[in-house]
Symmetry: C2
Subunit: 160 residues, 2 copies
DNA sequence: ATTGATGCAAACCCTTTGCATGAGT
DNA sequence: ACTCATGCAAAGGGTTTGCATCAAT
């Protein structure tokens, strides 16, 4: 695990520098650092700014716009997935080999990963009934997780 | 149909002024106009700014912040639903009596409404497996609609 | 008369962009 | 060398907020 962008060959489908180079993109220290942070916290769903903070622990001068542009690039290349958990900012994770989906708790903000099969026949059903092909990209479902009470407290409450 | 906020009694579960008043909220001409625009275009999924434009056809001086605050109020009271179709701005619709969900096409941006039953056993499945209770609020699923080709054209493409 | 709602302007957050400089190939 | 990627600063879009005034109760 913890494959790096500078490592060559032998990955299943995880990126190496060749992935970027093959498409005429350059491997910079910033990109490598951003990628490393992503794969070292694969389930953290970091926002661009959180990612930037972690990258700056190693490369203190990295600019936010570089992070945004790099994330765009990695998403375009299919190496990174962008998700929206309804928090007002995008979150990112390295692309897994097998698609998975997110159950986001509206009370506590926790995120549960579920495998494709857990959606059951939903995809086929939507395909048959509406001709709608569910996205390859991860699906996010909102609700209330096991640990949180179903009904909200009287006081208005936000993500912790 | 086209019930207004100032109409009394007899609605199934659609709001009347009493809904607001019962909770110590005031019925203003702005709120009534905003509500009227919403119910007169129940499936338009208007953004706050689009809504404001339409409201201004009647009440030319209505401020955007009033629209935002009113929408917050109506959402809090359960009269309006807020949705996020991945366009960068929230969209709103009057709450229906029966929950429905949205299939959003990533290619053309079209939105298909589906009834709760079309999700099949998904809710129970998630409940059983993960103790996760799918949101009462509408669920949005992203994918590609019947009319659009599955694979994107070579040129990068956004919502039209 | 009270007090919540409005309008206005400014601030906010996340993200994008123009441009000169710097680094990867 | 060539050109893409970076840093910086500024702008952008959607949304929120502080405050004085206005209007619903």
């Amino acid at each position: 695990m913890n494959r790096s962008l500078t490592e060559h060959g032998h990955g299943h489908r995880l990126p190496t520098s060749t992935v970027l180079r093959e498409r005429g993109r350059r491997l910079t220290v910033q990109r490598a650092a951003i990628w490393d942070v992503l794969v070292s916290a694969p389930d953290m769903h970091l926002s661009a700014e959180e990612l930037a903070e972690r990258v700056r622990e190693r490369l203190p001068q990295v600019n936010a716009s570089t992070v945004y542009r790099t994330l765009d690039t990695l998403v375009d290349e299919g190496l990174v997935l962008r998700a929206d958990f309804g928090t007002g900012r995008a979150v990112f994770e390295p692309a897994h080999e097998h698609p998975h989906h997110h159950l986001v708790c509206e009370r506590c903000g926790s995120v549960t990963h579920i495998h494709d099969e857990e959606l059951g026949s939903l995809g086929e059903r939507l395909q048959d009934r509406f001709g709608f092909r569910l996205s390859d990209r991860e699906t996010t479902l909102f609700g209330v997780c096991r640990r949180c009470p179903s009904s909200p407290p009287t006081e208005r409450e936000a993500y912790p």
